[in-house]
Symmetry: C2
Subunit: 387 residues, 2 copies
């Protein structure tokens, strides 16, 4: 009897995590080497409760809908696990004759993936564990970028382009768009792509990699408002001051989560208070990771491929690794899939390098835009403006 | 020599205001009866400053980009005008040999349109003035609905569908989506269409037409969280308590504008404070009126048609009216263009009728969904979920 394969999702969903699931399931079916193709219902918690979803016989026309389904179609979790739980998982896997495991997620999940791999190795069973990269934040180490980022980047680029066009037509003095990415500014930076084609980019971009200085922000805004009537600021939700404290006060703590005020609204209020200009903050928040209409075609295809390749690697006996992408060339865009030792990615958070941030710390460089442009896929539509 | 035509935009842009501009310009060209086709740069303010944009000879392939350009491609304004300014406008129109004026906007603009029409009539000149309806809020009277609404409705329906799917995959206890529409709940109500196809709708919808009771909200949320782990609430930005006061305190006043806190974040904080559950608020804000990818095809076509018909009406000598749509049938969807006396629409704000709001005041009726469904155009994509 053929051994079974299990797919587990971890962490926040993206617009393409289900595309990786599709790629993995398709490859497992095609191989003819897998018994049941199972998914853990709602992440590692489901695995520990032995709650499995059997995807082996889902009709192809149904399965293809995964490519256009946001969220995680098998559920996901943010469980923090202790060593005894890893051992329990390993025993459950053996019990269900599951000898191949795919874990799809970001830094936290790759940590889980690495620990499960090491536990299995130490226990001497023959369970193979492979990671599929996924993070809208793009903060996974070694890989050029991770599936989920391109779509989040396209969402921000499109939204910024449209917001700039809206504000240009009826100037509100300052609009601040708050963008996801608490420690890494990759998504926030992608707003600069709004200037591609005949769009206009945001006027100011504030990244969490640089300490935020309120006085400099106010002087940036003031200088720009002397030249034009409406400006668009894009700000990371994770802006911190020079001492590393969030620029918005924590307002609640519930369990492990601390709640901060909204950065966009906070900065808008600073503008109103200190300059007397009109201002408003917008925060699409979770909408920025689940928009199917703004999916990047490149991102979706790479996500599918990452699932397929991780499954292939498992089937040829690889373990303790994560699929990644190495950039071969940018123009034309070309990447090569690679396998990365899981130790190299476990919890190593990758932030924007210096060469991608401008000297004033209020924008990005051309180098960043050149790097990011291919990832958002089809590019932005042309517009026209007469005013 | 042929007389000139002027197009003026007023109020906040929508995703399709430029489609009406396209329709009007195309019709004016086709007619062969118009001299120069002019636009006031940035609304009535531009007219008063005699700043015109000449659209007569813009190549067709450029002009077509208006169909996919958000914001107002000729600018718009929120100027509040006094009687001497109407007289000044009328004199400027005569000076530039403009005898036909199209004003595109919502309630405020139709008020301006009506006053300009009356001023011209009183002055005895032969300037004709026609209104083109436009409002994402859908609060214009008499007409079944106004261009701009269908796209805003589709944005909210799509966003809610995706948000519900995201939350289902990784439950955050409560997510509150704040939606535009301070006094009228038309856009907020459209979130219910997220349940179409195989999507799931929001769990609770709070409309500005009903007084908001915090205790009832908390008991609604508590009851639902006993059954499921993550719920999605959609709330109008304009929620008011039983005394008619906004549920969020005004935090600033600058000029004519009062700034309130964000309703979504406020309600999330109420949940955290009173129930101890995790919660977050999202506010796409202006993004909800400028998304081209979420444009409704029906809305865009009706916007184009409204521009075309208003221009036709002007050319056959009509004045002091607004184009509107009368619904002939819902299944199949069929509307008939009508002309409405401008007096009937000037500043008459249309809110959701009783039969569109459910008995508990926390959702909408099937009658609303049946009414709204055709307006969002192509409908929502299918998804798949296993958890």
């Amino acid at each position: 009897m053929k051994e079974n394969l299990l797919i587990v999702h971890g962490g926040g969903p993206t617009a393409v995590i289900n595309a990786s699931l599709y790629g993995a399931v398709e490859e497992a079916r095609r191989s003819g080497q897998v018994g049941r193709i199972l998914a853990a219902k709602n992440g590692t918690g489901g695995l520990l409760k032995e709650e499995f979803i059997d995807l082996t016989d889902v009709p192809e026309e149904k399965l293809r809908l995964l490519l256009q389904t946001p969220g995680s179609a098998i559920g996901t979790s943010r469980d923090q696990l202790e060593q005894p739980e890893y051992e329990a998982m390993a025993r459950i896997l053996e019990k269900h004759d599951i000898h191949k495991v795919l874990m799809n997620g970001g830094n936290g999940t790759m940590d889980t993936c690495g620990k499960l791999y090491k536990t299995c190795k130490a226990m001497g069973n023959d369970i193979l564990v492979m990671g599929i990269p996924k993070t809208m934040d793009n903060d996974l180490a070694i890989t050029d970028h991770a599936p989920g980022y391109g779509s989040a980047a396209r969402y921000v680029a499109e939204s910024t382009k449209e917001l700039v066009q809206d504000v240009k037509g009826l100037p509100i003095h300052v609009v601040v768009l708050e963008v996801s990415g608490r420690n890494a500014g990759w998504i926030t930076a992608a707003s600069a792509l709004a200037a591609d084609g005949n769009g206009e980019g945001p006027d100011l971009i504030y990244l969490p990699e640089r300490p935020f200085d309120e006085d400099r922000f106010i002087s940036d805004v003031k200088r720009l408002l002397e030249k034009k009537k409406g400006i668009v600021v894009v700000a990371s939700e994770g802006l911190k001051d020079k001492d590393g404290n969030p620029i918005v006060e924590p307002i609640f703590k519930v369990g492990r989560s601390t709640y901060f005020g909204d950065v966009g609204t906070h900065l808008a209020n600073v503008v109103i208070r200190r300059l007397g200009y009109k201002a408003r903050g917008e925060k699409p928040g979770l909408l920025g990771r689940c928009s199917i209409l703004m999916q990047s075609t490149v991102d979706r295809e790479e996500a599918r491929l990452a699932g397929e390749l991780a499954c292939q690697a498992l089937l040829r006996g690889e373990t303790g690794k994560m699929v990644g992408f190495k950039r071969i060339s940018t123009e034309p865009y070309q990447v090569e899939p690679i396998l990365i030792d899981i130790d190299e990615v476990m919890l190593h958070e990758k932030t924007l390098p210096e060469e991608f941030i401008n000297a004033d710390g209020n924008g990005v460089t051309e180098a960043f835009k050149t790097w990011a442009r291919p990832l958002i896929g089809q590019g932005l539509d042309e517009m026209i403006s007469f005013n």
